[in-house]
C-alpha cells in the first residue's frame, strides 16, 4: 500500500483520501478506524455501508470472530474488533457487558440485578442482555455506585 502525506499550511481540516481499484477488508478497517476517531462508526449491511453516530448504536456483539452493531432498526457488521471498539468508546457512554458484548449505557431503559450477581440490561427497544459478574463492577463504577 502506498501512503502519501501532503502538508499544506492552507489546509483548514485534515482530509484523508483513499484511491483504490476496489474496497477490500483492510481498507474497510482503515475507514472504520478513521470514522471512530471522528466519533462516527461505519457498518456494512446487505453490501451497503452505513455511518452512525455512537449515540445511535444500542450495542456491539462479537459472534464467531465477526463484530456486529445494533441500532434501533438495523444490524450491521463492523470491521473493527470488540477490543478496538472498547478502546475507542468505553471512556464515553459504552461499557463492556461481557466477553462478547459492549453496551451503550444511554440506550438502557432498565437494569435488573439477578440472584447470581449478574445484571440484566433492558434496552430501549426491549432487547435483554446480561452483564457478566466480571463486568458488573465496571458498570457500577460508571454509574457512580
Amino acid at each position: 500500500m502506498k501512503i502519501t502525506i501532503e502538508q499544506d499550511v492552507a489546509c483548514a481540516e485534515p482530509e484523508v483520501k483513499i484511491t483504490c481499484r476496489e474496497m477490500d477488508e483492510g481498507l474497510l478497517r482503515i475507514v472504520a478506524a478513521l470514522r471512530a476517531l471522528d466519533h462516527k462508526l461505519s457498518g456494512i449491511s446487505e453490501g451497503r455501508t452505513f455511518v452512525f453516530e455512537p449515540d445511535e448504536i444500542y450495542y456491539f456483539e462479537s459472534v464467531d470472530k465477526r463484530t456486529f452493531l445494533y441500532t434501533a432498526d438495523r444490524v450491521c457488521e463492523t470491521p473493527l474488533r470488540l477490543y478496538e471498539l472498547e478502546g475507542k468508546l468505553c471512556h464515553g457512554d459504552f461499557f463492556r457487558a461481557s466477553k462478547s458484548v459492549i453496551v451503550n449505557l444511554s440506550r438502557i431503559r432498565m437494569l435488573n440485578p439477578m440472584l447470581g450477581g449478574k445484571i440484566e440490561v433492558v434496552l430501549e427497544n426491549g432487547e435483554r442482555l446480561m452483564v457478566s459478574r466480571q463486568y458488573v463492577p465496571m458498570l457500577k463504577e460508571k454509574l457512580g455506585l
Partner: protein, 141 residues
C-alpha cells in the same frame, strides 16, 4: 471448559449461602428450645450435603441468565421442599414420618422460605431502585 468455570463460580456463593442458612436455622432452633451446646460435626456434614443438593438443583433447573417466572418460582419451592423433606426425615432432623411431623416440617419450611424470599425480594428491590436511579441520573447528564 469456560461453562464449567462459570458454573463453579456460580456454585460457590450459592452453596455457601444455603449452608450458612442451614447452620443458622439449626442454631435458631436450638435457641428457641433453650438447648445449649454446639452443633455436632455429623450435623454440619448433613447441612453441607443439603446445601450441595439445593445448589445443584437450583443451578440445574433455573439458569442464571433467566429471570424467575411464576412457574419457576413454584418449581423452586417444590424442589427445595422435596430435598429438605428427604433430608429432614432421612437424617432424623424431624422425628418419625407421621402426619403431625409432616405438618410441623411444612410449617417450619414455609416460615423460613418466606423469610428468605422476603429478605431477597427487599434486597433486590432496593438494589434495582439504586441502579435505575443512578442510570436515570447518568442519562440526564
Amino acid at each position: 471448559m469456560s461453562k464449567l468455570i462459570n458454573w463453579a463460580i456460580a456454585f460457590k456463593p450459592l452453596m455457601l449461602m444455603y449452608f450458612a442458612a442451614g447452620v443458622f436455622i439449626m442454631m435458631f432452633w436450638d435457641l428457641i428450645w433453650g438447648r445449649a451446646g454446639s452443633l455436632p460435626t455429623v450435623l454440619l456434614w448433613q447441612i453441607f450435603l443439603a446445601a450441595v443438593l439445593l445448589t445443584i438443583t437450583h443451578l440445574g433447573f433455573f439458569p442464571e441468565n433467566k429471570p424467575f417466572s411464576r412457574r419457576d418460582f413454584v418449581l423452586h419451592i417444590l424442589c427445595n421442599y422435596v430435598i429438605m423433606a428427604a433430608m429432614a426425615f432421612g437424617f432424623g432432623w424431624v422425628s418419625a414420618a407421621t402426619f403431625q411431623s409432616a405438618v410441623v416440617f411444612t410449617g417450619i419450611f414455609a416460615v423460613f422460605y418466606a423469610a428468605a424470599f422476603t429478605g431477597f425480594y427487599l434486597y433486590y428491590r432496593e438494589l434495582r431502585g439504586q441502579l435505575n436511579e443512578k442510570l436515570m441520573q447518568y442519562k440526564q447528564g
